[in-house]
Amino acid sequence: MPDSPARRSPVQHQLDELQPEWTTISGMPAALRIGPHDEERAALAGLCDASCLRKLGLKGRDAGAWLAEQGMTVPADIYATASLASGGIIARLGTEEFLLESGIADESVPAIEAVPIPAGRNLFRIERQDATFVLCGIRADAVFAQTCGLDVGKMDVGRVVFTRVAGVSCGILPELFEDRRCYRMWIDPSYAASLWQSLAEICGDLGGGVVGLQCILQSFSGTG
């Protein structure tokens, strides 16, 4: 893969319009700061694009065992998650399916991708190009109240829930960031722009809005 920022977030066009301060993470331009009100917005209802985080899917009967062989802590329960070494996440999406997502400075996913899968193992890599959004702030639950039929505020931290948000299927992972709940969302990239538009509008209505990665960087760097 090219080292230059050849990757592109599915919502890069929407971010471009906000003229953010850019940085490059894992070969993808990432909006570091949108403007001077990022922190205030993030405290209320902040929507952040973290699609730059690399992802990998694994599926097959031997997926769990193989990941354990690579030294990873494999979640035992379906929808449970565990941390990767440097802030990344491994989520068990089914009995035989896993999603790995790197942290900001975490090369777990490229490292795993580089490991050849031995012949004879029932194990298949899956291309995961999901958009990753993070919804934070004290009114994040109110955003979900307008978009999702589940009581997101009552979901367990660290467990993935698959549902529909604003009509788009996605996975939601409630997390704690500085003792406050925030929500990581994984979305099929083809639906990402549509969902982003809906969420950004609602966040704006609730006094928040789009924020840069700076606001939540700590959360993904493994020190949050």
Binding site: A6, Q129, V168, D188, Y191, E201
Partner: protein, 979 residues
């Protein structure tokens, strides 16, 4: 504000905030906290609307939205109910349903012709002559209907939201408050909603004159304040109940969808009017309305009132009116009323009571703008007794307090079964579904202490159900005094010819439906309550029969000689009160899929269109060129040089595992066991009936791994179908849907190889990478799958890369092909090119009944396969005579002449023999082309057929062999310059 009373404890108005508003062109004053009707009343304006049919003057009856007498518009919004509409500074209101204004409504003369306007007169009178019906219909539409939509109204954001709770309590009166508190005290997350702006329900009007009740209200309110797990939403109606305790809450801004663990309905009762002559005149109102005026809005209802009652509630009303300096008399239908404390108080206040009497008719002032008195009939059940003018002259108000019906819409919708209980003369819940509870007056409990106890019991019952309360529930209270409702509050003089009976006695104020209308309907055979409702329109107006349905049921029961239970009720459906359509619409979520190249297409001038859930470039605009020219130019460029199209919308599925081959052989019609690794095959899938549902290419990446493409709009459904078959067959396959995770583009045209080769590490020579080959390598430094396909009939490559790299690769190819004349092409050019090549599109050239034989795709069915989905059906189809077959048609090129569009019919000897499925009015072959279904006996090449187009014009076409373009597939072979 001549009718405003001195300040009183508990009033809802804020006298520190006077407001000015206009009604029917005149300026009035009110206070914050007023509703429009109360403010108008305070200004002495009793006439606030006109009736629907006869345009009779009307004033508020219930003052709580249970009638539709006062409907106004404010210029932006229409059909606002004046008795619920909060007063605001600067309002400029007009009554709806008038011509020339409320005071000089030109349609008020309609009543003079009322004899000729019985129920359904338009059905009976206007059916002949038929040619005049449009005229009649037009006139009817002009005079009927309420309000006009303002198309210039400002957009108002009305986002819907969800809410969750353990217990939803509907109604914040004595029972609801007690129930919510009891449940919250057990730890439940409780949501308490009430349509009124304040907590308390009937505490605020019916019991407002009782100091002990006021004290109890304050205690309950204080406890509500203390409980953090008890949320209160006021000004919120529970508009409808749906399955699994899903309740729609509507406030003035939006709709909330509540999912509750349980629901407690403490919705109270709706006071019912009496049916008597002129019972609709301004000044005739319900007792509860009079109490609301006095206690909530500090407005004197009338100067001299007659309270017409059949229960002890009327005595409470009389005392409240007396305390408000209203001169009061009571007519009680009961010869011997209960000796309650209220009777004693009435005696002490010197209020005159006429027992065992009824009011059969009110007398009106000139123009029916009010009442000036009434007749009473002494001896409610004995027609021989005196019929006398009672308190004539200066009585300007009749206050009705003859009974109640349970406000049970939500409970009916929740599936609660009701029975008629004689001890309260109303329906009461008999069986309730799990998680649904009722308390208070809706449950047939009327004494205040009983209502509080019943509410508390309901809250505890919900807590018990949800595992938060273990002890036995307290006993259910039961009403044990006289029934609070009259069993038949319809009062007419028994002598039909008596002058009193000539006055209109209304059952439904909304639709001007009279007692005689129901009697007539019954005589015409509408003796079932549901039929009666639909014929007479009883209960079909804006208030949905809140004041009419029960009286209609009682009248019909009497006419049929049956009981109330036997007569039944009409079906209760959402919504409880009218809901603005904008609230239902809410924020619009229409998720659309974009490819990773979408923004590039837009920047390049693409005309984007909706292809299923995807946004796709139809074509790219070019200055000075028409749409057709653009499409034709793009297609020509593919034929002559090279074109690049975004095909990221294709379904991209992976089928892996030991059983991948047998699985594919079951799903598709073809064979795959001998498909070499690195090769593509066409795949055609049918359903169990042999109908084509999908097609695509199947690429073998490894012995146990296949990469499959599917149609853009059908991929999601096809993937679900594959998952279903996996489970049914129990095969060892792993299915992976990577549709959105790959960008895909098709580079096609004679220059495609030359453009791509410098960008890839794959050897693109015909020997190393032949037609229908697949390989993995890199393009522009990005991992890619390359598929050598020829959908558009040219040498080409489908390039699949991770979505995030899509734009990088696309731009690299466009840049690399600049000198070779590469251009992007859109979906329309692709459709033309594939049509020239004779490739069908599933869903366009096939329909819901097309099998492979009809689609000329029998070649795609593998020989001697033991099983595949639809195989058995196709065996049967094969034995039948084909009725149609997909063929090519060519048209002589009449420059600018008429040509058919898709779906036009092919006619032969007066019969329909086929239809066009795909049409190209212009092609790179120099003449128009089409694909069409055609009767098999006409499919021989060279046969002339005729296609009917607009205006019945027939256009000749000639059957042609497929494909039209490159029949020998020479374009996929090595060309001399590349060899």
């Amino acid at each position: 504000m001549a009718k405003r009373l001195p300040p009183r404890e508990g009033e809802w108005i804020d006298r520190e905030r006077p407001l000015e508003f206009r009604f029917e062109g005149r300026t009035y004053q009110g206070f914050a906290g007023d509703v429009v009707s109360s403010a108008l009343w305070a200004n002495g304006l009793l006439i606030q609307g006109r009736s629907f049919k006869y345009h009779r003057p009307r004033g508020p009856v219930s003052l709580c939205g249970h009638d539709a007498n006062v409907i106004v518009e404010d210029g932006m919004r229409t059909n606002l109910r004046g008795d619920l509409l909060p007063l605001a500074e600067g309002m400029d209101l007009r009554a709806v349903n008038t011509v020339g204004g409320l005071w000089k409504d030109k349609l008020r003369w309609t009543e003079r012709f009322s004899k000729f306007l019985p129920v359904g007169f338009y059905y009976k009178a206007f059916h002949t002559p038929r040619r005049l019906f449009p005229f009649y219909e037009n006139q009817m539409r002009k005079v009927a209907g309420l309000g006009e939509i303002n198309r210039g109204a400002e957009f108002a954001s009305t986002p819907k939201d969800y809410a969750f709770c353990d217990l939803l309590v509907v109604g914040a009166g004595p029972s609801g408050l007690a129930g919510a508190i009891a449940a919250a005290e057990q730890g439940l997350r409780v949501l308490l909603v009430d349509e009124n702006p304040r907590l308390g329900g009937s505490f605020n009007w019916q019991l407002a004159g009782d100091p002990d009740a006021r004290r109890q209200l304050q205690e309950l309110l204080a406890r509500v304040e203390e409980l953090e797990n008890l949320e209160v939403r006021l000004g919120t109606q529970a508009a409808g109940y749906y399955a699994d305790h899903w309740v729609a809450l509507v406030d003035d801004r939006h709709l909330t969808k509540v999912r509750a663990g349980a629901m407690l309905a403490a919705t109270g009762c709706i006071e019912q009017p009496a049916v008597f002559g002129n019972n609709d005149l301004p000044g005739v109102m319900l007792g509860s309305a009079a109490q609301r005026l006095v206690h909530q809005f500090a407005v004197k209802p009338v100067e001299n009132a007659l309270v017409f009652t059949a229960n002890s509630d009327g005595y409470r009303v009389a005392l409240d009116l007396h305390a408000a300096n209203v001169s009061v008399g009571i007519v009680d239908t009961r010869p011997d009323a209960d000796p309650t404390e209220l009777l004693t108080q009435v005696d002490e206040q010197g209020i005159q009571v006429l027992k065992g009497s009824v009011v059969p008719v009110a007398t009106h002032t000139r123009g029916k703008k009010g009442i000036k008195g009434c007749f009473t009939w002494l001896g409610a059940t004995d027609e021989s007794k005196q019929f006398a003018k009672f308190w004539p002259g200066n009585r300007n108000g009749i206050v009705m307090s003859v009974g109640w019906v349970p406000n049970a819409g939500l409970l009916y919708q929740a599936g609660v079964r009701f029975r008629y209980a004689a001890h309260v003369e109303q329906f009461v819940p008999e069986t309730l579904p799990e998680g649904v509870f009722a308390a208070g007056r809706v449950n047939g409990v009327f004494e205040l202490s009983d209502r509080i106890a019943d509410g508390r019991r309901g809250g505890l019952a919900a807590a018990k159900l949800l595992g938060r309360y273990e002890p036995e529930l307290p006993p259910a209270p039961r009403h044990d005094s006289a029934p609070p409702s009259h069993p038949y509050p319809v009062f007419v003089h028994p002598k039909k010819s008596h002058p009193a009976n000539k006055e209109k006695a209304f059952v439904d104020f909304d639709e001007d439906l009279q007692l005689k209308d129901i009697v007539d309907a019954h005589q015409e055979g509408y003796d079932n309550i549901e039929l009666l409702k639909r014929y007479s329109t009883a209960g079909m107006g804006p208030s949905q029969g809140k004041l009419a349905n029960m009286n209609a049921v009682r009248i019909l029961a009497k006419l049929n000689g049956k009981s109330i239970d036997e007569t039944g009720t009409t079906t209760s459906r959402p919504f409880y009160q009218p809901v603005p359509l904008g609230h239902l619409a809410g924020r619009r979520f229409h998720p659309l899929r974009r490819t990773p190249l979408h923004d590039w297409h837009v920047g390049a001038g693409a005309e984007v269109f909706h292809a299923g859930s995807w946004l796709r470039p139809e074509y790219y605009r070019a200055e000075g060129q028409s749409r057709d020219d653009c499409i034709f130019t793009e297609a020509g460029n593919v034929r002559e040089r090279a074109g690049l199209i975004d095909v990221s919308t294709l379904g991209k599925l992976r089928i892996c595992g030991p059983d991948a081959v047998p699985f594919l052989e079951r799903v598709y019609t073809g064979r795959f066991a001998k498909q070499p690794v690195g090769k593509l095959r066409y795949g055609l899938a049918c359903d169990e009936t042999g109908v084509i549902i999908e097609d695509g290419v199947i690429a073998r990446l490894a012995e146990d791994q296949f990469y499959v493409t599917a149609t853009s709009s059908g991929a999601a459904a096809f993937y679900r179908e594959l998952q279903r078959w996996t489970l049914i067959w129990g095969m060892d396959v792993t299915l992976i849907n990577e549709t959105g995770h790959h960008a895909a583009m098709n580079l096609a045209g004679p220059e495609s190889r030359a453009i791509l080769q410098p960008l890839t590490d794959v050897d693109l020579s015909a020997e190393e990478f032949p037609y229908l080959g697949v390989c993995e390598g890199t393009v522009a430094g990005v991992s890619a799958k390359l598929l050598r396909v020829g959908f558009v009939g040219e040498w080409g490559y489908e390039i699949h890369v991770p979505a995030s790299y899509g734009l990088h690769v696309w731009e690299a190819i466009i840049s690399a092909g600049a000198d070779a004349g590469i251009r992007p092409f859109g979906v329309e050019a692709q459709r033309l090119l594939r049509l020239e090549k004779g490739h069908l599109i599933v869903g366009q050239d096939t329909d819901a009944l097309t099998n492979p034989y009809e689609a000329a795709a029998a070649w795609a069915i593998g020989k001697n396969k033991p099983f595949f989905v639809g195989g058995r059906s196709l065996e049967i189809e094969q034995q039948k005579t084909l009725t149609r077959r997909l063929v090519g048609l060519t048209f002589a090129d009449p420059e600018g002449g008429p040509l058919p569009e898709e779906c036009r019919l092919i006619i032969h000897e007066g019969e329909i023999v086929g239809r066009i499925t795909s049409m190209a009015r212009r092609s790179t072959l120099g003449h128009p082309l089409a694909l069409a279904f055609l009767r098999p006996d006409l499919t021989e090449a060279g046969t002339t057929v005729r296609v009917r187009i607009d205006g019945g014009v027939m256009v000749e076409a000639t059957v042609a062999a497929l494909p039209f373009y490159d029949p020998d597939n020479q374009r996929q072979q090595e060309q001399p310059e590349h060899a």
